[in-house]
Point group: C2
């Protein structure tokens, strides 16, 4: 396949998989617009996602294809998929089934803590709200 420029300006979908056969997928709540989770897809997961309309990932820990929500009910219906310039990262805009959550800890989003810097040491703080203070939102 072509080099960098071809991947960047082409309308051919040719994901650039890493040595592990994976690309990064950032999953976004299509309604709220915030990031729910970051996970990985191999070629099989991308194909299953596009053909079924429900998001599939590759579980690195289990070494298996994983249809999100099969056990939790937190399915992710694909609304739109985007790819970045060099095609090694994907955005999946989804509508979440079940209780609307995505994180295995029971929270809606996996990003429930902010990093705070105090006296040059970084520590975490729970977010009171999914969008949190400090962010300028329209």
């Amino acid at each position: 396949m072509g080099g960098g420029a071809e991947r960047e300006e082409s309308l051919v979908f040719q994901p650039k998989f890493g040595a592990d056969g994976l690309v990064t997928c950032v999953t976004i709540d299509a309604g709220r617009g915030d990031v729910l989770m970051v996970a990985h897809m191999n070629a099989e997961a991308i194909e299953a996602t596009l053909t079924t309309g429900f998001v599939h990932y590759w579980s690195r820990s289990r070494g298996a294809l994983w249809r999100k929500g099969d056990t939790s009910g937190q399915t992710q219906r694909l609304i739109e998929m985007r790819v970045d310039c060099d095609q090694d990262a994907i955005l999946a805009f989804v509508e979440v089934g079940g209780d609307g959550g995505a994180c295995h800890t029971g929270r809606r989003s996996c990003f429930y803590r902010r990093v705070e810097v105090e006296a040059l040491a970084a520590r975490l703080a729970y977010l009171g709200d999914a969008r949190g203070p400090g962010l300028q939102r329209p």
Copy 2:
């Protein structure tokens, strides 16, 4: 270091770096709320980001620490950093300097194409608008 549960519920910031010493960073426009780019950070990049207030990445292709915007002027002032449940992915909410863009192709976001499925073959289409049709936004 602790196991999974400790990373998930602790307020200690202990990024889970991969075998390559990196975590994934998803960079979001703090004003608009959309994803600008996906890149990687090592421990040095995280520390430089938190101490200077400007986002640094690790360039895998160049094998070097990289202060975003040093050549392009498209600096990224850190507004807030979040970490996910298992601490192997980071969200950086930023205010972009220069012309407000983030992609080396000259576009504001690296995610300027959507994946379209036609007769079971996936192809790309340019986004007319950063938010695009098909997405339900408040």
